[in-house]
Amino acid sequence: MSFFDYFKSRKKNTSASVAKERLQIIVAHERGQREQPDYLPKLQQELVAVIRKYVEIEDDQVQVELDRNDECSVLELNVTLPEH
């Protein structure tokens, strides 16, 4: 470790802290997907198809998420309608 590194390493944004931050985000995201039931992507597709009968929307304008609690699960459906 040289003179400048000595001061640099005291700072918070070391490459290790960047690694930790990136890992926390990706791992949390992948765990979330892991816990989703297999039928969710298909459900989302079919919902999009139904809504499209009435409103013109893109695939990514519908978000389906399942939140599991101890007592019950909540299926959250978020549809962003286009502006008129």
């Binding site: 470790m1 040289s2 003179f3 590194d5 000595y6 390493s9 070391t14 490459s15 290790a16 802290s17 690694a19 930790k20 990136r22 890992l23 926390q24 990706i26 791992v27 992948e30 765990r31 892991r34």
Partner: protein, 269 residues
């Protein structure tokens, strides 16, 4: 009834075979009748690490297919009593490890052994899934590096959903983190994820931290399980890990960089 311990990681090259060799040797050295099985069909290497590559006559697949008995295929270790090696096949297809075949061999071993250590291949394909499925405990071998940590988390997900214990609704597989190739100097400089970082992310109990050491390559060159290098830091770290696996409490060692004087730190060294 034997306890089945699978050494796994997802990512390749993190030290699964080195760890399997040391853990099985450590358990046998503590007086338990132990067998270590190589699940890496086609890329057999445990035999080299255990220094028995010239004594392989029959292998795991031969036993599954009824071409040899278990007693014919098991290789008795020459250094440690009550340690046996079951080598992988070098020539067969991976699919030769059938579910029923693996189960039958494990059941038969379970009658006479205390511990069965399964050395998993890298990846999440057939051989790795077979090694995982029957596990009672999993030693998730991880390097302090982003891709290894992510892959370890993926393996934990598979253990929690696709293992025998998960499918049958039994107690979940015991999961342990083994951090290998740890370099305290680089951690202190902020160049490497620390034990705390990796433990935070994976959130499973820490079994051991093996320092990065030249001894590991030296030992594999000679076909000597690292744990038998009693004088070395890596050997002692493996010995601690095996003791913890059996519920013993041992303080973690080799986590701090060598203390350097102020001048050495400022001017490099």
């Amino acid at each position: 009834m034997a306890k089945i311990i699978t050494v796994t990681s997802g990512k390749g090259g993190v030290g699964k075979t080195t760890t399997s060799a040391s853990i099985s040797t450590g358990l046998a050295r503590r007086g338990h009748k132990t067998v270590v099985i190589d699940f890496d069909v086609g890329l057999r290497n445990l035999d080299l690490i255990m220094n028995c590559e010239r004594r392989v006559v029959y292998d795991f697949v031969n036993v599954i297919q009824g071409e040899a008995t278990l007693n014919q295929a098991l290789i008795r270790d020459k250094r440690v009593n009550s340690l046996y090696i079951l080598p992988a096949s070098q020539t067969r297809e991976k699919e030769a490890l059938t579910f029923e075949g693996v189960e039958k061999v494990l059941n038969e071993l379970s009658e006479t052994f205390d511990y069965i250590v399964c050395d998993s291949p890298a990846g999440i394909e057939h051989g790795a899934l077979m090694a995982l499925y029957f596990a009672d405990a999993a030693v998730v071998t991880t390097n302090p590096e982003v891709s290894s940590v992510r892959d370890s988390d993926r393996i934990l997900g598979i253990l929690q959903s696709k293992s025998r214990r998960a499918e049958k609704g039994l107690d979940p597989v015991e999961e342990y983190l083994l951090l290998t190739r740890y370099n305290p100097d680089r951690v202190e400089r902020g160049e490497m994820l620390s034990v705390e970082d990796v433990s935070d992310i994976l959130a499973i109990p820490l079994l051991g931290v093996i320092p990065e050491s030249q001894i590991v390559l030296n030992a594999s060159n000679q076909g000597l399980p690292v744990i038998l290098e009693d004088e070395s830091d890596a050997g002692q770290a493996y010995d601690d890990a095996v003791a913890r696996l059996e519920g013993e409490e041992r303080e973690f060692r080799f986590l701090k960089a060598d203390k350097k004087g102020f001048l050495a730190r400022v001017f490099g060294g």
